[in-house]
């Protein structure tokens, strides 16, 4: 079977957003409200994609879910318990790789392991993860010696190492070429099929969102100066693994792109 069988598999959690708003202090006392009235629930093991135009607040929403940022209004609960500050049930893959430059790739990935993982298990698990994301030969390299896409995969491996109840991924495949991207998407689905965490995935790629998730949530605004909220929720038909050429998906894709303001010809 798989090299990725973990002893302490956290069971997937549900995560609920109710009436989340987030404002930042702007210049001269002005308040910049980014998100408002964001409410939805992700059920255990569900994969939800969040799409929306650049700067609409997708990363901010994930940061609130991770407890890195306090919501200005509303509450995030995981399995019924409110998120206050960093939460050990959550792992996050940031939009940037954020690898420690002085550590090898393997040691960076090991950072994600749950506390108290025995040494031998830790090494084996890191090795397996590195091979999974195609970095088996780069365990001893430093972050500056690998490419941007490789760094992003290392960062994904670090988040996977945590084996969390809720996995937050902020554009995990953004820096990858088309081929690697497809491989990594399938890899994520494999891992999820085996160890179903609840996944919130931010992406720019509508096709990716439809291929990977059970539901797609669109964040947007009516006019550019008002805060973003959920403008559309799409239940993706069918079950994974999906056919990338599926006709229903193609139609949905067109609809969602129109929602994002892209007209296709």
């Amino acid at each position: 079977m798989s090299a990725l069988t973990l002893k302490h598999t956290l069971t997937a959690c549900d995560i609920n957003f109710s009436g989340i708003a987030k404002s930042f202090a702007g210049e001269r006392g002005a308040v910049h409200t980014v998100l408002e009235g964001v409410s939805f629930t992700a059920y255990p093991g569900e994969i939800i994609s969040i799409i929306g135009s650049s700067g609409c607040g997708k990363s901010t929403l994930l940061r609130v879910a991770a407890g890195l940022e306090a919501a200005s209004a509303g509450e995030v609960t995981i399995d019924g318990a409110a998120v206050r500050g960093l939460d050990s049930r959550v792992a996050i893959g940031f939009q940037e790789p954020r690898l420690l430059p002085w550590r090898s790739i393997a040691k960076n990935v090991a950072l994600g392991l749950p506390k108290g993982t025995p040494k031998d298990d830790a090494r084996q698990h890191v090795d397996a993860l590195l091979r999974l994301v195609g970095l088996g030969d780069y365990a001893a390299h430093r972050p500056r010696e690998i490419s941007g896409g490789m760094a992003q995969r290392a960062s994904l491996a670090r988040a996977l190492a945590r084996n969390p109840g809720v996995l937050l991924l902020d554009e995990p495949f953004g820096a990858l070429d088309a081929l690697t991207r497809i491989k990594m998407q399938d890899l994520l689905l494999d891992i999820h099929a085996q160890d179903p965490a609840t996944i919130l995935l931010v992406t720019h790629d509508v096709e990716e969102a439809l291929y990977l998730s059970d539901r797609v949530i669109v964040l947007g605004t009516s006019d550019p100066h008002s805060p973003a909220t959920i403008t559309r929720t799409v239940e993706v038909p069918g079950h994974r693994p999906r056919d990338r050429g599926d006709l229903d998906l193609a139609l949905l894709r067109k609809e969602l792109l129109a929602e994002l303001g892209v007209e296709e010809h």
């Binding site: 079977m1 798989s2 090299a3 990725l4 991770a66 890195l68 960093l86 050990s88 959550v90 792992a91 996050i92 940031f94 940037e96 954020r98 420690l100 430059p101 002085w102 950072l111 994600g112 749950p114 506390k115 397996a128 091979r131 999974l132 195609g134 970095l135 088996g136 030969d137 780069y138 430093r142 500056r144 010696e145 690998i146 490419s147 896409g149 490789m150 995969r153 670090r158 945590r162 990858l176 070429d177 081929l179 690697t180 491989k183 990594m184 890899l187 494999d190 891992i191 085996q194």
Partner: protein
């Protein structure tokens, strides 16, 4: 189902890098000095020229022997002092004072710099005071030190420690305050906190800056050594300076200067090697 690919299904990009790495070394080659092994010795050209000029000027009598004794006379003075067993003592005591003062000052600088750099409260509380103390020209402490500690070893070592403290304190506190917050945040989301956070992220991130600060501090320590020894010492290179001036022994005076240059350079070379190692081991990008 096995998640591990049996064949080489590594992403294309990985293979590309693997190929390009196959023949190349992973360290960038310094093209400018390759094939020019003598280039590092270029730095010796100037001292040798100066030495030649010095010999020439003293031989042709442009300067009197009292103003500028020939290099050979300085060497003779060195041998003379060595024969009396004094040269070693001067060098040893000065080096000891520098190393002691440097160590004490650097340790205090590390501790206070870490405190002020890591804690916002400490920063608000202590940084203005330390900044004000730093603005005091260090020699202004001398009368106080003599009054409080007396003229012995302790006051000299203290003065040197003061000189070594500030460069370390400043670089450490500034570097810690500027550690990439994204890295700190990433580590914190993986449950790393407190001392663990310091040793995994902050310390490695600031090490190169710290070593640069240590190098500055060492240079300061030698500077302050001379200041300390000019004021009431009976041994040491600074004492040799004043004593020779009073006795009109310009040869010994020059000897002291040359020795200070050599000792300062040697200790700096040692720290410089350490600095290069740290920069390779703990890169900042």
């Amino acid at each position: 189902m096995s998640l591990l690919p049996a064949t080489d299904t590594r992403p294309a990009e990985t293979k590309r890098v693997a190929r390009s790495r196959a023949g190349a070394s992973s360290r960038p080659v310094q093209l400018s000095t390759r094939g020019h092994r003598w280039l590092p010795w270029l730095g010796a050209l100037l001292p040798l020229t100066l030495l030649a000029l010095w010999q020439y000027l003293s031989l042709t009598g442009v300067f009197s022997a009292v103003q500028l004794p020939a290099p050979s006379r300085v060497v003779a003075a060195a041998l003379d002092l060595l024969g009396r067993g004094q040269l070693g003592i001067h060098i040893a005591i000065s080096t000891q004072r520098v190393l002691l003062g440097f160590t004490i000052g650097a340790l205090l600088g590390l501790a206070l710099g870490a405190w002020v750099g890591l804690s916002r409260w400490a920063n608000l509380l202590a940084a203005p005071t330390i900044g004000a103390l730093r603005a005091v020209p260090s020699l202004a402490w001398v009368p106080l030190l003599l009054l409080w500690i007396g003229i012995g070893e302790n006051s000299k070592v203290t003065l040197i420690a003061i000189g070594a403290f500030f460069p370390v304190y400043t670089t450490v506190s500034a570097a810690l305050a500027h550690v990439d917050p994204k890295l700190v945040e990433a580590a914190r989301t993986f449950g790393i906190r407190g001392l663990g956070l310091f040793t995994t992220v902050q310390l490695p991130a600031v090490l190169p800056a710290v070593v640069s600060g240590l190098r500055l501090a060492l240079a300061q320590a030698w500077l302050f050594l001379v200041a300390a020894e000019l004021l009431g010492a009976s041994m040491g290179l600074g004492f040799l300076l004043t004593d020779s001036q009073n006795n009109g022994r310009t040869d010994r005076l020059l000897l002291a200067i040359v020795l200070l240059a050599i000792l300062g350079k040697l200790t700096d070379l040692a720290l410089g090697a350490f600095e290069r190692w740290v920069k390779v081991r703990f890169p900042s990008n």
